[in-house]
């Protein structure tokens, strides 16, 4: 299977490229990038053909595409790829605007191609194990969840609102909310958020606490902040505490690591040793294309989390709790 990558703007594109190259039944055949220098370097690194023109790449022998452009460009690239009947894996968040997300979903439906959104946290072994344990009723009925996805500030276009759609709230809420929707088949009902820029000299938010009341009544807290200090031993953390009628379950998804006290470089570094979520994500997408099944994580999943991100921004802006509106696709 020939895979094309649309843009290396998102740093995950490198992980995806690597796992496509390693996959026994796939090949990284093509790369397009608005940044030609960056695209050509990547093409050289992974042995792919660089296309200066996206239309040309989509007309070439490419069976599926992975979209890793800036958030604001997802719509343009996904719609274009859909019109060329290519199955699509699109980075998160699905888009920066709800109308864009709806247009993307419709374009893929009309062209009968799968649209999968890249939510790798579902593939973390510890998260999958936690889901299994919760479904086995180990802690009874869950009444509340306290979740964090914190990282270091990525910089670049991630902090330019016209390209990213927002700061840490846009970057991180979606990972956690997607997992909760997946585990509990539940939707957000009302949202309250407090945001600020406290850690970095940037023009988007890097701090936040979001409280969500789910339709089921579950009380959810999410911390999406870019709050990891420079000296933190790893890039990001994902933690989820589930409180149930029969007990509580705490998962620290990146705790499976050795700690390396690196005197050579003067720092302490985590060395994770569990399965790589990005590898699992790529394998799942390739399998989806090969078998023609419905994507594991759909455009609708992407839209649902974007709706909550938007409601949370409105809440912070207006200093009140906001009801989440779900849109028809």
């Amino acid at each position: 299977m020939n895979i094309g990558i649309i843009s290396f703007a998102h740093m995950h594109a490198h992980a995806y490229a690597e796992y496509v190259v390693k996959h026994p039944e796939a090949k990284l055949a093509a790369i397009w990038d608005a940044d030609e220098t960056r695209g050509m370097e990547a093409a050289k690194q992974y042995g792919a053909t660089f296309y200066a023109n996206l239309e040309a790449m989509l007309q070439a022998d490419v069976d599926a595409v992975i979209v890793c452009s800036e958030n604001a460009h997802h719509k343009e690239h996904v719609v274009q790829a859909a019109n060329h009947h290519k199955p699509i894996l699109c980075e998160k968040p699905i888009a920066t605007e709800i109308d864009d997300a709806i247009e993307m979903i419709q374009a893929c439906e009309q062209n009968n191609v799968p649209l999968q959104i890249a939510y790798p946290v579902r593939f973390l072994p510890a998260i999958q194990e936690a889901k299994t344990m919760i479904e086995a009723d180990e802690i009874g009925e869950v009444i509340a969840i306290n979740a964090t996805n914190n990282g270091k500030m990525p910089g670049g276009w991630f902090v330019e609102k016209e390209l990213s759609g927002g700061g840490s709230a846009t970057d991180h809420i979606v990972h956690l909310l997607d997992v909760l929707r997946w585990i509990f088949r539940d939707e957000a009902h009302r949202v309250h958020a407090e945001y600020d820029t406290r850690f970095h000299d940037i023009n988007v938010e890097d701090s936040g606490i979001v409280q969500i009341e789910m339709e089921s009544g579950k009380v959810v807290s999410i911390d999406p902040s870019w709050s990891r200090p420079d000296t933190f031993p790893t890039w990001a953390t994902v933690t989820m505490k589930f409180i149930g009628t029969e007990g509580s379950l705490y998962v620290n998804a990146f705790k499976q690591k050795s700690v390396y006290y690196n005197d050579r470089d003067g720092k302490v570094e985590d060395q994770p040793w569990t399965d790589d979520m990005n590898e699992s994500l790529i394998h799942d997408f390739i399998d989806c294309v090969q078998t023609g099944r419905k994507p594991f994580i759909s455009g609708e999943d992407g839209l649902r989390t974007l709706e909550v991100v938007k409601a949370a921004y409105q809440s912070d802006d207006e200093k009140r709790t906001v009801s989440v509106v779900r849109h028809e696709e």
């Binding site: 407090e194 406290r198 850690f199 009380v219 807290s221 990891r228 007990g247 509580s248």
Partner: protein
């Protein structure tokens, strides 16, 4: 000159407070009023002569400080009685079963010119005490996102979790990070299959300086746990009681033994609290938790409760000192 201390207490609390005062070299226990079954309390022989059976038996003016360590539902009554002695009073938070009781007690002490010091296990738990100092010293720079959590077994009965359980953490937050301007609270409760109540509450506090604080309160299970993560512009402090227990033990027979706490200390939390308040009463040191802090924390607790009820954030008017 030694500080004269009278202790009014019940059961385990009396025992723990007695131990803390006896260990303090600047104080002398001159009166003990056991509340409840005296025979269940192990008062050392050499102190038996100072045991009183009523307030009237204690001599007003003889005590420099009265330590009231009784269950919550009895605190406000005993603090009011103690206030008539004119001595300083130490009482754990909350000062009463309801905020109205607490505010009445605070007013009475103020009217009588009596200093009422708040006992707060978080303020003097060494991890939290140290973190408070580090934050004040600028170790984390500009506070950004602050997480705190506290868990203990459900106390039974029908209580306001924010007023009864949250108050100590709210007070620590106010003392450490200052004024709160907005509070958003959420509360949920359920019952386990065996009929044991499970209660959970979260509060988002927006501080006057812009910092965002998230506090999680859990009444469930058996274990006592607490944690904090204090992230700021120049660094982050992290603590989790589940990761700090210095002793793990596996026994090969029987049901095994789980170590109960990470706080393996020579100087107990109470002894540290006593030491601090002795310095305040004897030497005029500024209390780490002022009366204004306590009142503001109570405002926060009340706002959290109202917010949880209404489903909307609640603004705090006035702030500390109002």
């Amino acid at each position: 000159m030694l500080l004269n201390v009278v202790i009014i207490g019940s059961n385990d609390e009396l025992q723990q407070h007695l131990d803390a005062w006896v260990a303090n070299k600047h104080a002398e226990v001159v009166g003990i009023l056991p509340v409840g079954d005296k025979d269940k309390m192990h008062i050392p022989k050499y102190l038996e002569s100072v045991i009183a059976s009523s307030m009237e038996e204690l001599t007003p003016g003889k005590a420099d400080v009265i330590d009231v360590c009784v269950p919550v539902q009895e605190r406000s009554d005993w603090v009011k009685k103690a206030a008539s002695f004119g001595s300083s009073i130490i009482c754990p938070l909350p000062f009463g079963k309801t905020q109205d009781e607490e505010r009445t007690v605070i007013e009475i002490c103020w009217e009588k010119g009596v200093s009422l010091y708040a006992g707060n296990s978080f303020q003097f738990a060494p991890a939290f005490e140290g973190a408070h100092k580090h934050v004040k010293d600028g170790a984390i720079g500009k506070p950004g996102v602050i997480h705190l959590s506290s868990k203990e077994a459900h106390p039974g009965g029908d209580n306001d979790i924010f007023a009864l359980f949250g108050i100590e953490l709210f007070a620590w937050v106010v003392a450490t990070f200052g004024e709160v301007v907005r509070v958003t609270g959420k509360h949920t409760q359920t019952t386990s299959k065996s009929g044991v109540p499970v209660e959970y509450a979260v509060t988002t506090l927006r501080m006057a300086d812009g910092a965002i604080v998230h506090i999680e309160l859990m009444w469930s299970g058996k274990s006592i746990e607490s944690s904090f993560e204090l992230a700021g512009s120049e660094g982050m402090l992290h603590y989790d009681s589940r990761e700090s227990d210095p002793i793990h033990v596996e026994t090969f027979t029987g049901s095994g033994h789980v170590h109960e706490t990470d706080m393996v200390l020579n100087k107990s939390v109470l002894a540290r609290e006593v030491e601090h308040y002795v310095a305040c009463i004897r030497y005029g040191a500024t209390p780490i938790l002022t009366g204004d802090d306590v009142v503001h924390a109570m405002d926060v607790a009340r706002a959290a409760s109202v917010s949880a009820e209404m489903g909307e954030p609640v603004a705090i008017e006035g702030g500390v000192g109002q």
